[in-house]
């Protein structure tokens, strides 16, 4: 069974097998429900989301958030520390300034680092500086992981969840993965087979460079991919790979991940 819904600002596809149709339908429905919940909690655009409430109020007083949002913030902090600050969700200021995110009600926000996020007890969070966070670099991966957990809870053992290119595969079947290279529209490169793991791919245009990072030439059309045990890790680590272009950095192995860069120019050569 394959289903697709527009969620998280992109298209989310869920493929599941191994159960009778009514049971699969319930499982897939519940998995989409988990993704919709992540969308509601972590959207920058939705004024009632945890992220919006944090950005408006957490610099003044502690804000109570959902356990799922707290979990993502904990992971984001762990990745911020492990990558010397290259993975940094405090990019709200930069994204608003460049017009990629709405700035309504956030005129107090300044540029800052994710280290200003203080996780208190009982899912309360305070910002020690007037920053704005955007979880666009990690929430999609988390949503895919929650969907997989929901499918498993419903007894599904064979499934693929693909949220606009961030995907996770469970089951014994190895899946062929294609990588899309930006700037060579329509070019997809067959990169490998994936089994019981997650992959995410990013490009230079989708990443905000923070202190210590640099950007490949926008004309290089490279796709930066990370294979990892969870989609949260894969999603977040692509943002680091884009900034360093160093697929051999120690943190990839530490998280059980493999990083690689696909060059659209190579793809072009093969075609000719």
């Amino acid at each position: 069974m394959r289903r697709a819904r527009p969620l998280l600002g992109t298209y989310v596809e869920i493929e599941a097998a191994g159960l009778a149709a009514p049971a699969l339908e319930r499982a897939v429905d519940a998995a989409f429900g988990a993704i919709a919940r992540v969308h509601r909690l972590m959207s920058f655009h939705d004024g009632d989301s945890d992220v919006s409430r944090l950005n408006r109020y957490a610099a003044s007083a502690p804000v109570t958030i959902d356990g799922w949002t707290a979990k993502v913030l904990k992971k984001a902090r762990m990745l911020f520390d492990a990558t010397d600050g290259l993975f940094d969700c405090a990019v709200g200021h930069e994204l608003m300034r460049s017009g990629r995110l709405p700035s309504q009600g956030l005129s107090h926000v300044e540029s800052g680092r994710f280290s200003a996020v203080e996780l208190l007890s009982d899912n309360r969070v305070r910002f020690s500086a007037p920053i704005a966070i955007d979880l666009g670099g990690i929430a999609k991966g988390f949503a895919v992981d929650r969907a997989i957990a929901m499918l498993r809870a419903h007894g599904v053992r064979e499934a693929v969840v693909n949220a606009g290119g961030d995907m996770r595969v469970i089951g014994n079947k190895a899946r062929t993965i294609h990588i899309r290279c930006q700037g060579r529209e329509g070019r997809v490169v067959q990169a490998g087979l994936l089994r019981n793991a997650a992959i995410a791919t990013s490009d230079a245009a989708a990443t905000v460079i923070k202190q210590g990072g640099r950007l490949a030439s926008p004309s290089s059309h490279h796709a930066y991919s990370v294979v990892a045990p969870t989609c949260l890790l894969a999603d977040a680590l692509t943002k680091v790979l884009v900034q360093t272009q160093d697929a051999h950095a120690g943190y990839f192995a530490r998280f059980g991940a493999i990083a690689f860069v696909t060059s659209a120019d190579i793809a072009e050569d093969r075609v000719a």
Binding site: A4, Y11, G165, E185, V188, V189, Q190, D203, I266, R270
Partner: protein, 151 residues
């Protein structure tokens, strides 16, 4: 993670022009969004009404490179109940201009439509925006408001 979980293949460029997936027929989407309900056709060809005042609308959304058929279920109070993608087609025009690629379709005419390659799934890449879908749903809500006005 075990190394066997990720198996390298030589980089192969897929030469197909498009990938297309059909998730639902109209009847399947109706059953999925309004299980057990009776739907009645309206004067508009893409709109059905449920016995309790909800609506089922099929709409087409055309993005830069994607063609999407959506089913939108509307609750009796006018809010969106559920959105399902019925068909997703992604295509790129410029490859059609490449002679080598076009040669595959020599002899095909309008009566023998191009077969889209359905084998390309599991694409990992920079996120595609679903902004056009959001705009399509807004149009559906306007259409439902006008259908309700005609009752």
């Amino acid at each position: 993670m075990r190394a066997s979980q990720w198996i390298w293949l030589p980089a192969v460029v897929i030469s197909a022009s498009a990938h297309a997936t059909t998730y639902f027929t109209v009847e399947q989407a109706q059953r999925a969004i309004f299980p057990g309900a009776t739907l009645t056709a309206t004067a508009q060809p893409n709109a059905w009404r449920t016995s309790n005042g909800g609506y089922f609308i099929v709409t087409r959304v055309i993005g830069k490179h994607e063609y999407i058929t959506l089913a939108v279920g509307i609750n009796p109070n006018g809010t969106v109940k559920q959105i399902e993608i019925m068909q997703y087609i992604e295509s790129y025009g410029y490859e059609v201009r490449e002679a080598q690629w076009r040669a595959q379709f020599v002899g095909k005419s309008a009566s023998s439509p191009l077969e889209l390659n359905n084998d390309i799934t599991n694409i990992s890449g920079a996120t595609l925006s679903s902004r056009h879908v959001t705009e399509g749903v807004k149009r559906v809500l306007q259409q439902v408001a006008s259908l309700k006005g005609k009752q």
